[in-house]
Assembly symmetry: C2
Homo-oligomer: 158 residues x 2
DNA sequence: CGTGTATTATTGAGTCCGCAAGCAATAGTA
DNA sequence: TACTATTGCTTGCGGACTCAATAATACACG
């Protein structure tokens, strides 16, 4: 192969660094799995992934409520994203706005009884779908390792 | 603890199945890393992650061009998503539309010389950022394993 | 106190992308 | 040949999210 001609293409045979391969696989796996789960969740329960994640996080929170800022950090959304996400859940009656007596700025996102019921209704099937996706081609030990590795990436820790 | 009272909350101490933990970490790590890389790419080169991925994929393709359908599959986008993504890259002169002589339906996405130059300009710094994110807290062997595991999830394989 | 800064939340404008529908070209079939 | 899928691509519409700007409250410190 000559090195004198100007390259008109990037050599596809040149192996990408492992980190780059991991990154593109992360992108692809995320996009595909998210799309699958989202479609299922939407069709069966009328929720998006973020809708469900928000409800799920709230259901485990102290008093079933959370400051919007904390919810934003947990879901990796901006504050305005959370405002808009909660708008929908409030309209659906799954979450309501509650005041904080000690700080008038904060507006709690409070899970309603209907919201808790919804989480219970959805969670089993949804977790089943998640487990299927992971357990189909990975052993339990491998899933544990995968979770551990993801936890070391930026934002990965819970 | 009594089992007679109606549960008003989902027990946060009850450990989620490993697959569910892996899933939430995948969501969080993806959102965080994507946000970081996107901001950097946007600020320094005016590209989104998908812009870059599209250019990069095209730069390695036969004749630096690809059918839009194939590009969609590769980037895990819908056909309409690809049309819109390419609109922007065409406006920037990085990609152009070319006809296929053997099938009048297809419109190739053809990387221009400017597009190839752009990939070369961006790739080094971008790959450096990716490597930093992964190599900061994971060993080379762990990164390889992570890539392998991700490759077994739906859509993960290249 | 009063003033300046940080924090919490919302809003308006704009981007990105998916879904459903539609058009044009090709392939399959009788 | 004519008729019916199927495939490749685009478009209208709408949803979800971000960024920048804004308002209101809290806090720190002279």
């Amino acid at each position: 192969m000559s090195t004198q001609l100007p390259a008109t293409q990037i050599d596809p045979a040149a192996e990408a660094p492992p980190a780059v391969r991991a990154w593109t696989r992360l992108l692809r796996a995320h996009a595909t799995t998210r799309r699958l789960l989202n479609a299922e969740l939407q069709a069966e329960h009328g929720l998006t992934i973020n809708d469900y994640e928000a409800l799920q996080v709230l259901s485990c929170a102290e008093e079933r409520r959370m400051k919007r800022v904390d919810l934003a950090r947990r879901l990796v959304l901006t504050p305005s994203g959370v405002t808009r996400l909660l708008e929908g859940l409030e309209r659906a009656g799954l979450v309501e706005r509650t005041a904080c007596s000690s700080d008038l700025r904060v507006v709690y996102a409070q899970l309603t009884d209907a919201g808790l019921a919804k989480v219970r209704e959805v969670s089993c099937g949804h977790e089943g779908s998640i487990r299927t996706m992971f357990e189909e081609h990975l052993s339990p030990a491998q899933i544990e390792q995968l979770a551990a590795f993801l936890g070391r990436l930026p934002g990965g820790a819970d």
